[in-house]
């Protein structure tokens, strides 16, 4: 390497041309003069919300701008030269040799028609860094360093033959293979389940340590980056908020914004005692799609009025199916749902309107949960009209009242979903559910598509509304931190069965069963050295392996 300061980004400015249909293209700046340095073998974490410019900055260190993004100013020095001055041929010989990239979605990054090993060694051969046998040997070494099973033969498989967590590690091997000086990790664990994320994180950390490569680690999760990075740079709206050592950022943040990020999920909520009579009781539910396998197997849970039952589990554990059974979209094969004192009709189509009104649902993706062609006023007003026959002026007043409850200005009623931010959209969805004046709201991963601070706001709002309106939540999530914050009782699901069920204190107090232990221990904590501690004390392999 040419110098100690391997990567030197100076006053980087990045712009993009926005082309909205029917409007003239206009230029906006998304990164406003960011500077940073990275020394040999160090890991710099870039953290921020969506739109902070972290991926854009990461890609600029490969001299690349994605989808109309253009580097408009500043310098990016890699190995003692400004790569922004390189021509196409120069960039081609530089990318994949000196700097490599690991993307968020490994599944989309691999060519499904080629064996893994061929793709892993491709860059090394292309750049003439090593011969084929050498590259193969190095790939196998890396597979072993990344704790992939059967490192000698796993390369002969095709991308669809390994799990998501494994594929992400193979992608890391691909990036490490040509012995680059820098790797850009762009949210490498975000799309993974929490128990898989920790394995990949540990593998990446180990590989970085073994190979001594420098890395830019981009993520929105401060707790994750705290485990791997030496330094952290906090970004917001394309500007640096704070830059310091990991220890300083986590333990002694200076800026307000960083403090907010560090203390996110600090919501606490007193657990309520279960009432005598649950509002909803699901008994011995068995369900599946078509004639396929059972997705839910003998699940029984209770939801008490004005309380929150959190259903936690990884993808494929059956937690969303449980919600579909409750809504009646998927009538169960056997089992019974009791609503107050009576049995709820299994099929939604034949439920009386009053039952439909009393059980409302909020979706994960607020984007697709609202008709893009309807105004916010129509979206929130429709349940009022439909269930209560409130029309015209009175409806508008009620809509304004509901908007006030979700802490949005009344004039938003005239706008369309595309004009709102992610958090605002989710609030509107909450208002739509509230408009029906329900007893139960099913919340299906309502915060997982949102940035941490925005998600925090939504959770606070939900708790607040519960306290005022006495509505019960069936809260489906994969995120244990959220569960700790808002649940009264918890159902842990694993492969379609209840792994553990009880009040929050019962479920979260040891002794744990193996799965709950794995799940609980996998949630990244904002603490240095957490990863090592956990990996040393694991009892069970994650499902992703």
């Amino acid at each position: 390497m040419a110098s100690d300061t391997f990567l030197d980004i100076r006053n980087l400015k990045i712009g993009v041309t926005v082309r909205e249909p029917g409007e003239r293209p206009r230029d906006i700046t998304i990164v406003h003069g960011v500077s940073t340095k990275l020394e040999e073998g160090k890991v710099l974490g870039l953290i921020g919300e969506s739109g902070a410019g972290k991926s854009t900055i990461g890609l600029s260190s490969l001299g690349y701008g994605r989808g109309g993004v253009e580097i408009t100013g500043g310098e990016v020095w890699v190995n003692g030269r400004d790569i922004l001055d390189l021509n196409r041929a120069g960039l081609n010989s530089f990318r994949g040799k000196e700097v490599c990239y690991v993307s968020q979605s490994a599944a989309a990054g691999f060519n499904p028609a080629h064996k893994l090993i061929d793709q892993v060694i491709e860059a090394s051969l292309e750049h003439g860094i090593m011969s084929k046998p050498e590259a193969m040997a190095r790939a196998r070494e890396l597979f072993a360093a990344l704790s992939l099973p059967d490192p000698d033969n796993i390369g002969d498989r095709y991308p669809h033959q390994v799990s998501g967590g494994q594929l992400q590690r193979v992608m890391t091997a691909m990036a490490l293979c040509p012995k680059p000086d820098l790797i850009v990790f762009d949210e490498p664990t975000t799309a993974l389940d929490v128990t898989t994320q920790i394995d990949v994180l540990a593998a990446i950390k180990n590989a970085i340590r073994v190979t001594g490569v420098a890395a830019l680690y981009i993520t929105h999760d401060l707790a994750v980056v705290a485990q791997v990075a030496d330094e952290i740079m906090v970004l917001r709206n394309g500007e640096t908020v704070e830059h310091g050592s990991t220890k300083q950022i986590i333990e002694d943040p200076q800026e307000e914004y960083t403090k907010a990020l560090v203390s996110v999920r600090s919501i606490t909520h007193e657990e309520k005692v279960p009432t005598d009579k649950p509002i909803i009781e699901m008994k011995n539910i068995v369900a599946g799609y078509g004639s396929g396998p059972k997705i839910l197997d003998d699940v029984s849970v209770e939801l008490h009025p004005g309380q929150t039952l959190a259903v936690v589990g990884e993808s494929g554990s059956g937690k969303s199916t449980l919600a579909r059974v409750l809504t009646g979209l998927l009538p169960p094969r056997s089992g019974e749902i009791t609503f107050e004192d009576r049995t709820l009709t299994p099929d939604q189509k034949s439920r009386p309107r009053e039952d439909l009104r009393r059980i409302q649902m909020i979706y994960q993706m607020a984007d697709t949960a609202m008709n893009p062609r309807q105004s916010i006023g129509t979206i929130i007003g429709r349940p009022l009209e439909f269930y209560f026959g409130i029309k015209g002026r009175k409806r508008d007043e009620k809509v304004a009242e509901l908007l006030d409850k979700i802490e949005l200005p009344a004039d938003i009623a005239g706008r369309y979903p595309a004009e709102l931010s992610g958090g605002q959209k989710q609030r509107v969805c909450i208002a739509r559910a509230l408009a029906a004046n329900p007893d139960v709201i099913i919340c299906d991963e309502v915060t997982s598509a949102l940035d941490p601070l925005v998600a925090d706001g939504i959770l606070k709002l939900l708790l607040d509304l519960q306290a005022r309106e006495g509505v019960a939540y069936l809260f489906i999530t994969h995120d244990l931190a959220t569960v700790r914050a808002i649940a009264d009782s918890i159902a842990v699901m694993y492969k379609g069965r209840l792994a553990r069920y009880g009040t929050k204190t019962e479920v979260l107090t040891p002794p744990f069963d193996d799965y709950t232990d794995l799940l609980l221990s996998s949630v990244p904590e904002m603490e240095l050295g957490w990863l090592e501690q956990v990996m040393a004390h694991r009892k069970m392999e994650s499902a992703g392996n």
């Binding site: 249909p21 029917g22 409302q360 984007d367 949960a369 609202m370 309807q374």
Partner: protein
Amino acid sequence: MDLKTIPISAWIGIISTTCFVLAAIFAPLIAPYGMAEVVGGVWEPMSATHWLGTDNLGRDLFSRMIYGAQTTLTIAALATLVSFTTGSLLGMTAAVVGGWTDQILSRFVDLLMSIPTLIFALVVLSVLPPGLLTLILVMGVLDATRVFRLSRAVAVDVNVMDFVEAAKLRGEGRWWIITREILPNALSTLVAELGLRFIFMVLFLSALSFLGLGIQPPQADWGGMVKENKDGIVFGIGAALIPAAAIALLAISVNLIADWILNRTTDLKGGRGGQ
């Protein structure tokens, strides 16, 4: 919408289509002679009195072109209307209701589409009593199969979105789901298709008239005019080419507009900013 963002090709399409439409609407005011009035010799060349010359019976070709525009455009527009209302409503119903309804409707449409449209239309029109209404209905129903396929495909896409599920959970009826949740989101695709279908209607009608089963003489219509004057081509008289050129020009103009609309709304969510 900014007028300056409309591309030049779309402008050409808009202007030329507008000319055709205006000519059709104000035909009796613009045409110098009556539609079936014999005003000169057979196949007279272009002159100051007869701008485009005269036809095989000595009628003024320019006047007949204008009246022809009226007939052709009106019938094509009405047939498109029939095909769109039936096709899109049935297509969306099939998508939303699903199951047997979908199967029966879709297989019936497959059946209709498996028979070449022109031959099918010829058979049906020669059996049924002649008349404008029959013509429009036959054209509309046959073309509705294409609209059915498209709107069913778009509706299937929209139907799986969460907001449709939310409406179903609310207990909304099918009519609301089809007209308020799905239709607005399918509209941009359908509008672009509307232009194309209209053009196919013009071509279809012209073909039928040329074969003698469309508009009956002395009513002027472009396809029929090509037929009346086609024998002149042997003698080097180009009267048949003028209505033929009008058909081609109209087809191209409407296509240019449809292209532009399609480009503006490639995204399913389209319209208002989209994501």
